[in-house]
Amino acid sequence: MEQPNPTIHQPIRLKIMAALKALPPREWLEFTRLKAILGATDGNLGAHLGTLEESGYVEAQKDFVRKKPRTRVRLTGAGRRAFEEYVAYLREIVEQAEQSG
């Protein structure tokens, strides 16, 4: 990979992807939990999730639990692959620097 994936490269989106990748495949994470894990605000997290959803890396589901609205998100297959490629890209940079230094 010559250039980092611009969608994942943004720090908050990178953390979102990392947090979702830590879950078992196809597992959902509630928006409120993700917000607490990342220490993000509603608006900020919602905007970045929207970008990831448009890229097809994340899917969201809205429903009601005991009459309360609930939003859940999870990584898609494409999201997992993109994240793994991005991590490989980061590791490559670090390893190259270690070898040359």
Binding site: Q3, P4, P6, H9, P11, L14, K15, A18, A19, L20, K21, A22, L23, P24, P25, R26, E27, W28, L29, T32, R33, A36, I37, L38, V87, L90, R91, I93, V94, Q96, A97
Partner: protein, 184 residues
């Protein structure tokens, strides 16, 4: 858009931190209902054993069966959308613990019921502490230490009321611990 070595290393650290927090929160969320169920069972079991010691064996048998059934039900609900291995792993863990105690009490039969009532919670506390160390879940470690320490304290300093102590403090610690794990 290129990246320096230090930026890449910092991003990898941030990824690791986010993954650790997310994995711990996920484990807490999954463990929370199990803890609450077993907290209620401890409250019921230890208090019944204190007030009606003659019914001890039957009551614990019924309660443990109820607890295992509840664990299966919780595990199945959790498995509907993620891994079906969750329920199976939980059942296998319970079976392993059961076989351990059968072997332990066959080799070293405890002279008193209070000793049985103390050893099992200490073992459970140990399991939580070890799980916390391996899963990097500090709350599991603290909960395990609390259950172990409260059990030892009650056994030595409140021997007369040990069963009531375990009902209120041991069971209460599990219930409160379960509620605490729900919070991120």
């Amino acid at each position: 858009m290129s990246m320096t070595n230090s930026n890449a290393a910092r991003s990898l650290d941030e990824i690791q931190r986010a993954q650790r927090r997310s994995a711990a929160a996920y484990s807490y969320q999954k463990a929370s209902p199990h803890l609450i169920v077993w907290g209620v069972i401890w409250v019921a079991g230890y208090s019944t054993t204190y007030f009606r010691p003659q019914a001890n064996a039957a009551v614990w048998l019924i309660l443990v069966l109820l607890g295992v059934t509840a664990d299966f039900w919780i595990g199945r609900r959790a498995a509907t959308e993620s891994s079906h291995a969750h329920g199976r792993r939980f059942a296998a863990s319970l079976l392993a613990a059961f076989l351990f105690f059968v072997a332990l009490f066959t080799i070293m039969p405890p002279p008193s019921g209070a000793q049985v009532g103390a050893i099992i919670p200490i073992f459970i506390g140990l399991c939580y502490a070890i799980a916390g160390i391996w899963k990097q879940g500090l709350r599991f470690v603290l909960l395990g230490l609390a259950v172990g320490a409260l059990t030892v304290a009650g056994y030595f300093w409140l021997a007369r009321f040990f069963l009531l102590w375990m009902a209120a403090v041991g069971g209460g610690a599990l219930i409160l611990g379960g509620l605490w794990l729900r919070r991120v």
